[in-house]
């Protein structure tokens, strides 16, 4: 759904991402989101708010 919002809103917006979390303190790597350039970052520590340009949606 947020990906659809991003298409409508265009660049410059930010998203609060709430992936399913295991620990909430960066330990389990469970709540990752895909980022541009490849790989994943943790929504609990690196996020939960990301600039639209960061996320690989």
């Amino acid at each position: 759904m947020l990906a659809a919002v991003k298409r409508v809103a265009g660049s410059g917006c930010q998203f609060s991402v709430e992936e399913r979390m295991g620990c909430g303190n960066g330990s389990c790597n469970g709540c990752v989101v895909p980022v541009r350039g490849g790989g994943y970052v943790r929504s609990c520590v690196e996020g939960p708010v990301f600039g639209a340009e960061v996320l690989a949606w």
Partner: protein, 308 residues
């Protein structure tokens, strides 16, 4: 913490290493961001598994909650051994530092051990033998005792002067423990997560296909520790569903010399687990080291035919 535990001896000796407490994190469950919460709790430090090259890990969803546990499928996300070693000082809490490694092949395991042999910060190496062996059609290293013996032997040759722990899965654990001991592993970590699956019935999709952890697996892990400790001479590190201080005591009574805390640390403060364990020892008038294997002989170890 230590003040509250005056008079209780929490220390244990694991492969010649003096640990202030028998607790350590289970690999993959403690990041550097959370270290402030565990200072003085763990007798050793054990970061996430590292691999020869960086791994992005598996696509989400990676975790799912289940009754009394969770299923995870992280895919060993890590920056690769060189990046891992650059960041390793963050895990220096003044206690012995253990490093968990995994490779796709026996040669990769051995190369990792050789790389770590040159790093004096590392007190011991844990081999994560629940990862797939690409030379055996993707079967995990623990799938056969021959492959356990081969990989442990290769790591032993590459790392002759530091303790090596073989982390084993539940299936075939006694045979694999004997194989690891024959290949001169110094200790055995028992057990890893159990193969598990969660399904989203509403979307009719597989949610997470991975490993089950948490208190749901504790009785399975306890039995594995009990039987392995009866079958080998080397120390056992118990792991699987430890949530309370009494759980720690149970694992040590079953034969563990040290105990790992994993999933529980996502739910409660590991400090409380140590405090409970300390209170148990105080009441029993025992030191942590007195517990290991104290049940031995009470019940003969049976390796088949029971359970009906």
């Amino acid at each position: 913490v230590r003040e509250r535990m005056a008079g209780v001896d929490l220390s244990v000796n694991l492969c010649g290493l003096a640990l202030e407490t028998p607790l350590m994190p289970a690999s993959g469950t403690l990041a550097k961001e959370a270290l402030g919460e565990v200072e003085g709790v763990y007798g050793a430090m054990l970061p996430k598994t590292t691999t020869p090259r960086a791994r992005a890990g598996n696509p989400p969803p990676r975790v799912a909650e289940t009754p009394a546990g969770m299923v995870n499928s992280i895919g060993l996300q890590n920056p690769g051994v060189e990046g891992f070693l650059q960041d390793l000082d963050a895990f220096d809490l003044g206690v012995p530092l253990f490093v968990s490694v995994a490779g796709d092949t026996v040669a990769e395991f051995a190369a990792l051990c050789e790389r770590l042999a040159g790093d004096d910060r590392i007190a011991a190496v844990e081999l994560n033998l629940s990862c797939p062996n690409v030379e055996c059609g993707g079967l995990i290293f623990c799938a056969t005792s021959a492959s356990v013996e081969e990989v442990v032997g290769a790591c032993r040759a590459a790392l002759p002067n530091r303790p090596i722990f073989a982390k084993l899965t539940n299936e075939g654990v006694v045979e694999n423990a004997r194989a690891a001991e024959a290949a001169e592993a110094d200790a055995l970590t028992v057990i890893n997560t159990l193969p598990a699956l969660t399904i989203d019935a509403h979307r009719q999709k597989v949610l997470v296909r991975g490993g089950l952890s948490g208190p749901a697996i504790k009785p399975v892990a306890l039995r594995a520790v009990y039987e392995v400790a009866g079958a080998v001479e080397v120390p056992v590190i118990g792991s699987g569903g430890v949530v309370s201080g009494l759980d720690v005591a149970e694992f040590m009574l079953a034969g563990a010399t040290a105990v790992q805390v994993g999933t529980a640390s996502f739910v409660r403060d590991p400090r409380e687990i140590l405090d409970e364990f300390s209170a148990y020892l105080q009441e029993a008038g025992l030191g942590a080291g007195d517990l290991t294997g104290a049940l031995r002989g009470d019940h003969p170890v049976v390796t088949g035919g029971e359970g009906r």
